[in-house]
Symmetry: C2
Subunit: 233 residues, 2 copies
């Protein structure tokens, strides 16, 4: 059966989308290697067959699944013999809470730092689209957003506290080995690594850094193998 993952494509073959990294790592967790198809910001029509225009979209034989959370649920149900993404009913319910925490808090703090970098990372033909869709989100130009970088960096630190505390006592959020909740949070740092030359972590973040490094090594170095900045490796 053919397995295809449609994901965001940027310049220099970079694949920064954190939503797509959730799916990439969930597939790797299940021992699956999809064919990857890069989709530019302005190529929503290429995944319109999925009933919407966003990536990731997973095609598994006849089955089409858009949305990173739906992909995780699909993989868990379709590949029950492979290692679990959630490790039980309680793990699945709380992974969903962490999904919302990442979306509404962690990503909301990281995105204004990365968005100005993403303008340069987008393919030249995507940059006007990127600017037009992102600037209303922040209520200012991407250049003005870049000028607020220090403020956004300062806001990120306290927000990482639950990660910092959990990873000070356990190698992964999910315990002795990683599972989907780890990929949810890690994907934000993988996004940063693709887009951002500086490490966004601070001097107190050694536990988060060590966790990030372990996840970069996971699956034969899958996340480490892609074009990215090395500073956050």
């Amino acid at each position: 059966m053919s397995l295809v993952l449609y994901e965001r494509l940027c310049s220099d073959d970079r694949r920064p989308s954190p939503y797509c990294w959730r799916a990439r790592l969930a597939l790797a967790h299940k021992g699956l290697t999809p064919e990857l198809r890069g989709i530019k910001f302005t190529e929503a029509s290429k995944v319109a067959f999925s009933g919407q225009g966003k990536v990731p979209v997973l095609c598994d034989g006849e089955r089409t699944v858009p949305d990173s959370w739906a992909i995780a649920l699909y993989l868990e149900a379709a590949y029950p013999e492979a290692p679990s993404l959630f490790r039980g009913e309680g793990g699945q319910a709380l992974a969903r809470f962490i999904n919302h925490w990442v979306d509404s808090r962690l990503q909301k703090a990281i995105a204004p730092i990365l968005a100005p970098r993403m303008l340069a990372l987008a393919l030249p033909e995507d940059r006007a689209y990127y600017r037009e869709t992102r600037e209303p989100r922040y209520g200012c130009s991407l250049e003005e957003l870049a000028a607020q970088r220090d403020r956004h960096l300062a806001a990120l630190g306290p927000l990482l506290e639950p990660l910092r505390l959990r990873l000070a006592e356990s190698p992964y959020l999910c315990g002795e080995s990683p599972a989907y909740a780890d990929y949810l949070a890690f994907a934000e740092f993988q996004w940063a690594r693709c887009a951002e030359p500086d490490d966004l972590l601070g001097p107190d973040d050694d536990a988060i850094r060590a966790w990030r490094s372990r996840l970069l090594d996971r699956f034969d170095g899958l996340a480490r193998s892609v074009p990215a900045y090395d500073s956050a490796a």
Copy 2:
């Protein structure tokens, strides 16, 4: 076998401690009804037998367990036939992340709103101790803290977003029925209900309000039955 829970005692027989409510609800989840022994802020020596001075402390026959998380782990291991507090290995690992999220983010946002109220709620003989231990934490007098109330209330709103999103799609954080992660977050609102006449939730918080109300009803209305303000019921 005797089962005793030592918990914080305040005036009018109020029991506001969120840490103690975690233990109360974990015990109820396991179908256990402990004898409750109230401990004043200045009575740390009364639980010194546990090797430390904080509450909650659970005594189950010969076994003494301080610390709310340790109590949850103990109950899960000691009463495996009763409903699980975590619903699997994944649920336990992520409940610990949520424990850290509650401690470092939710409670950090709620505590400066409630601390000035707690001064009046503490027993008269505890008030000097409460002031002496809390004011250094906030770097100002409790009266100055009370004057910053609006700012702290405004900071609470965005922080609740992961709860708001999760509870918009599910009756409980843990799914169709509550488990320990629900009690972790709910205990902060139960603290507020004991100490604070106003509801801290806003106009967009109906899903959180409905969840809170369901948890107040749980276990034959255990959390609703204690002396508290009705505004947040």
